[in-house]
């Protein structure tokens, strides 16, 4: 069973599906991690009995389902993510309600903030950026209210919350852009696929049409003419021919052999041709790589074969004694065949086009299959004919991220917001907690490191920074963050770890800009420092996780998104060419087959019965005029062009049966004539025909420079068409 491409699955959603599944699993992992942390860190006294179970359920259950994403459909994954997002949001609201109504909760509610990113990412996958933003706002508001309800205002916590908000925002942008990028990739491939399909279909239809037309002209017309023109002694032979022609018509659908040609067979055929026509010719075959090369479509192989043969024949004829060479280059996408000789050459500018000997068979063949042919020659310099064909149109390759105009804008927004926020936070935390020297210094250092890192990195455009520059930015920022944390921890406790997150944001920038591994290395430094700070200062596990987890998540998501996107893009490009090639082959052979079938049916109904009578050998007198009429009708469809339409077709057939020789010519090529005018002309000529009983009548659509549209000429006069 051949692979049919249905209109419903014409879109290639592979990339987006892969991306969504991957992201969902990552989100699930984060959720599980956090659930585990809470469950471990919460002392029994901290929360009411069923609380831990509820927590676990809210996060862990959807997360477990999400781990199955690689085997689930897009919709299912989205539903699971939506559940996770909604549940998390409800949890937050529930906490808030609980706090307001007085159900006892300690002020150790660090942890809900850490899940902001998880919830936002889940909402993003489920419903896109809009829903993600909504969930971010709701959660943030809840957390603030919760905090107020529990313990009142606290600058330190404000900073922490600010960091959480920014982290979530960054994750949102990153993942959102990542998903959008995959969707754009898919869309670009689908578009290319549609275009390729259209082109292949029309090529297939045209090839089939030409093939059918050739059959008509070759055999059908000849047979019909023979009946009317020949001696009775030839009747038997003509009857056999009619039988053969009928057989060809019935088999027309299967006549176009579309099996792809293996490259080795293709090269073998070309070298064989060269040896046959010009045995002394040097043949040079260059193929790239060891992998078996994708087979060529049959029509392409045919085009090359015919064009090469013609070029060689020309060379032998015009430059007989010269030495000639054929070069065949075939690699994954392209085939280039060059036929060159060092003969007398000619000046293409001197010679009338049609005397060049580069007949339509060379240029026309290559063009018909989507390739090109060119000739270079100069007197005394020999002649080179170059035939080339490319597997796919490379001009619609989508390049990311340089062409994605949206990313810079939202990135700039985030970056600006981040800078402003961090500065604000730094000021607040220093001033708000009493302007302790340590805290001011820590804030100053953290900010300095952050701005310096950004300055070194540059944020004008998304070009990939030089390695040295990236390392410098990373080192500056990381060391500043670590130092600031160590200094500030004495003043604020674990909240001083905000500096680590600030540094992490800059590292995320490094990763996105194309230096993921440098970011990871620096991240290791941040994490190590954070661990040291946490251990030596006795942070609770939850606080440690918050301090270290946020930088981890921020840089982790950035690095993963960048790497994954690059991988997906490469994989998509590869899949795309195979997809396009298959699409092309399928579309072409489907279109060919359909066209041939239609033409065959049409021919059968038109000439079948008559040919059967010819084949039978029982020729009645009416058969002769019938054959003449049919021959004329088929001829008219080709040469008569737009004149071959209802009132005229019947009138011509009837006239031919009466013995009139009817000739219809469409010589108005390029002239636009409205349908109603054509109908009027046809009716007019038909009228003339009805009045003609013998001799010949020639009806002609006149060339564009005539006063009249058409003329009708019979033995006794000329008539011009009047409206």
């Amino acid at each position: 069973m051949s692979a049919r491409v249905h209109s419903s699955d014409r879109s290639m959603r592979v990339t987006e599906l892969r991306a969504v599944r991957f992201t969902a699993v990552v989100v699930a992992a984060m959720a599980m991690l956090i659930a585990a942390t809470w469950t471990i860190s919460l002392h029994p006294g901290d929360a009411p009995g069923g609380y831990r179970t509820i927590l676990a359920a809210v996060l862990a259950v959807p997360a477990l389902f999400a781990f199955a994403s690689p085997w689930l459909s897009l919709r299912t994954v989205r539903v699971i993510m939506a559940t996770l997002a909604v549940a998390t949001t409800l949890l937050a609201v529930g906490l808030l309600v609980g706090a307001i109504t007085g159900t006892a909760l300690q002020d150790r509610v660090v942890w809900p903030l850490s899940i902001t990113a998880v919830a936002t990412a889940a909402a993003l996958i489920a419903g896109g950026i809009g829903w993600a933003l909504a969930s971010l706002v709701v959660l943030t508001v809840c957390m603030q209210l919760l905090r107020l309800a529990i313990g009142g205002f606290d600058f330190a916590w404000l900073v922490n919350d600010g960091q959480a908000f920014l982290s979530a925002g960054l994750v949102l942008v990153l993942v959102g852009t990542f998903l959008r990028a995959t969707r754009d990739l898919d869309r670009a491939v689908t578009q290319a696929g549609l275009a390729e399909e259209r082109r292949a279909s029309s090529n297939g239809r045209r090839a089939a049409g030409q093939h059918a037309q050739a059959l008509v002209h070759d055999d059908v017309l000849a047979t019909l003419l023979l009946v009317s023109q020949s001696l009775s002694s030839m009747r038997g032979a003509i009857a056999s021919q009619a039988g053969r022609v009928l057989g060809r018509i019935f088999a027309l659908e299967r006549e176009l052999d579309d099996a792809p040609v293996r490259r080795t067979a293709f090269i073998g055929r070309l070298t064989g041709t060269a040896r046959r026509i010009a045995p002394e010719c040097a043949v040079d075959v260059r193929t790239a790589g060891e992998d078996p090369l994708a087979p060529l479509d049959a029509p392409v192989a045919e085009a090359f074969a015919g064009a090469t043969e013609q070029a060689l024949v020309n060379s032998v004829r015009h430059a007989g004694d010269a030495s000639r060479a054929v070069t065949i280059e075939a690699d994954h996408g392209d085939v280039v065949v060059t036929v060159s000789d060092n003969g007398a050459g000619f000046d293409p500018g001197d010679v009338p086009r049609d005397r060049l000997g580069i007949s339509t068979s060379i240029v026309g063949r290559m063009r018909a299959v989507g390739g090109r042919a060119s000739v270079r020659s100069a007197p005394g310099r020999g002649t080179t004919v170059r035939l080339e064909w490319r597997a796919a149109a490379d001009d619609d390759v989508w390049v990311w991220p340089r062409d994605d105009a949206r990313f810079p804008r939202s990135a700039r927004l985030i970056a600006t917001g981040f800078c402003v926020f961090q500065t604000l936070m730094a000021v607040l935390i220093s001033v708000g907690t009493g302007a302790v020297t340590a805290s001011i210094v820590a804030s100053a250092i953290a900010l300095a490191g952050m701005f310096a890192g950004l300055a070194v990195l540059g944020w004008r455009h998304l070009a990939r920074p030089a390695a040295g520059r990236a390392v410098t930015a990373a080192v500056i920022t990381t060391s500043a963050s670590i130092i600031a944390t160590f200094i500030g921890v004495s003043a604020h406790g674990f909240v001083a770890a905000w500096a680590l997150t600030a540094g992490a944001f800059v590292l995320a920038g490094v990763a996105i800009r194309g230096r993921p591994w440098i970011a990871v290395a620096a991240l290791a430094g941040l994490v190590a420092a954070g661990t040291v700070v946490a251990v030596s200062n006795g942070f609770v596990l939850a606080e440690t996780v918050a301090a270290i987890g946020r930088p981890l998540i921020v840089v982790g998501v950035a690095v993963t998104a960048t790497l994954q996107l690059r991988r997906l893009w490469e994989r998509t490009l590869r899949a795309r060419s195979e997809y396009l090639a298959t699409l092309r082959r399928t579309a072409r052979s489907q279109a060919s087959r359909a066209e041939l079938k239609a033409r065959a049916e049409e021919l059968e109904s038109l000439v079948g019965p008559t040919l059967e009578r010819v084949k039978s050998g029982e020729w009645t007198p009416s058969l002769f005029s019938e054959c003449a009429a049919l021959e004329g009708q088929l001829r008219d469809r080709y040469r008569g062009g737009r004149l071959a339409r209802p009132p005229l077709i019947e009138a011509a057939a009837a006239a031919r049966r009466r013995g009139v020789d009817v000739v219809l010519l469409d010589d108005a090529g390029g002239r636009e004539i409205a349908e109603h005018e054509l109908d009027a002309v046809a009716a007019w000529i038909a009228g003339r025909l009805d009045e003609t009983d013998e001799g010949r009548l020639t009806g002609r659509l006149l060339p564009p420079d005539s006063d009249s549209l058409a003329s009708a000429v019979a033995g006794d006069g000329v008539w011009a068409f009047q409206h």
Partner: protein, 214 residues
Amino acid sequence: MGSARVVIVDDHDLVSIALGEMIRSRNDLEFVGRAHTVTEFRSKGIAADVAVLDLALGDDSDPADNVARLSAAGLRVMVLTSGENPYYIRRVTRTDAFGIVRKSAPSHEILDAIAQTARGEHVLTTEWAAALDADDDLRSAPLTNRERDVLRLYASGLGAKMVARQLSVSENTIDDHLRRIRRVYRDIDRPADTKVELYQRGLEDGFIPPPAPR
């Protein structure tokens, strides 16, 4: 003067045989052989004066090429067409062929055309005139209005006598006009590109067949 020796080059055996039979019925013509392609004819070594050449030989050979090769071998060429697309016909009009005749024309017309070719006279047919008349290159050629009228009338299907009568001149005058038309046509300076854009030209000239009527 003896009868002219005629060879038929056509890829359909029956067509060649039938035509050969028709030629045998004339005194001034002698059927000497047939071949499927020009190459086959050359290899057979048949001696002939006139070649009747099928426009579409089915071997993807260029009709103009075929005419050139036959002419080079010393034969006068007459081309038979089934009603091909105008592009191929036009290619032949620019060669040394003496005429282009429809296969579906009445037998006596075909035979007369062969005889004319044998005598070295150009055969004037509607197909030939129509091909020239619709040729864009002729627009800017130095032809007089009268000459264009002559061509247009022939292209529309009138015969020699009728054209003369229509224009109220003698047939000799018409012949002069035709000779001049032929000469101008042959000498037209056709723009040639360094890159051979024959396909483009073929599109304009009707190389791409019109869509099949439904």
